[in-house]
């Protein structure tokens, strides 16, 4: 797994490539928590899953955890470029009910 972080106004844009499972999700969690700690100005998190090849319940767990961090700051978390097989997982897990999905990062930024 590889994580690319960019900043767009009050939003942190996180692009995950590769697989998010038990072995890689701690890296994902720590990277985002570190950014949120250092930059108090971020309120929102945009999660770009366009290059994410795999997520299981361990990966969904750390995504849910970041949703909670962001909600505590009064921000929104939006997933973008979500491949169909991952959208199915999001639906099954109930994450779709609490998290917004947008086609692209630009669409997500427009809603903030």
């Amino acid at each position: 797994m590889n994580i690319e972080v960019t900043r767009a106004g009050s939003a942190l844009v996180v692009k995950v490539s590769g697989e998010l499972d038990l072995s890689t999700s701690p890296v994902f969690r720590d990277k985002i928590e570190e950014e949120l700690k250092h930059f108090e100005s971020f309120r929102h998190l945009i999660l770009d899953l366009g290059e994410t090849s795999f997520i299981d319940s361990s990966g969904l767990g750390v995504i849910l955890g970041r949703f909670k961090s962001i909600s505590q700051r009064g921000g929104k978390m939006i997933a973008v470029n979500v491949p169909p097989h991952l959208e199915k997982l999001f639906a099954l897990s109930g994450l779709l009910k609490i998290m917004t999905i947008c086609p692209t990062a630009q669409d997500a930024l427009n809603t903030l």
Partner: protein, 147 residues
């Protein structure tokens, strides 16, 4: 009709979870699964093997055994650990139930949803054995060439 098997043993290290997905997906590709079905199989295996690592062996490292078979066009996956076992199987299978507050309690739900059949046997202190089966949607009348 094709018959094949693959038995694998490895230590319960987190980096072996992705390895187990690769192994199962390559083996399963000998049947006529769609890409979407292979994706479901990868998730189911990932959940079962992660459970051995996280719950079965917790802070220790033990051995995980993966038994794959193709019988009458059906993929059978058995995931075994010799770890702590499960006290209350019915409770464990409850959606969103987890003994770990950090986790979502969705592993067994995903395994059930993504496979045609899923059974668990467990003995506290002895370990856990999960059996999962899946048939390609495209049916049994379709064998791969070259066999």
């Amino acid at each position: 009709m094709k018959t094949n098997y693959l038995r694998v043993e490895f230590p319960s290290l987190p980096e072996n979870i992705s390895l187990s997905r690769v192994i199962v997906a390559s083996f399963a590709a000998q049947l006529d699964f769609t890409l979407s079905e292979l994706e479901e199989i990868r998730v189911a295996v990932s959940e079962a093997v992660s459970n051995c690592v996280i719950h079965g062996y917790r802070d220790t490292t033990g051995e995980i055994r993966l038994e794959l078979a193709i019988k009458d066009g059906t993929l059978e996956i058995v995931v075994i650990d010799y770890g702590c076992g499960i006290d209350d199987l019915a409770l464990a299978r409850t959606p969103a139930y987890s003994t770990d507050p950090e986790r979502m309690g969705l592993g067994l739900v995903f395994m059930e949803s993504f496979m045609d059949e899923m059974t668990i046997e467990s003995e506290p202190g002895k370990g856990t054995r999960v059996v999962m089966k899946k048939n390609p949607e495209r049916g049994k009348d379709h064998d791969k060439p070259g066999d």
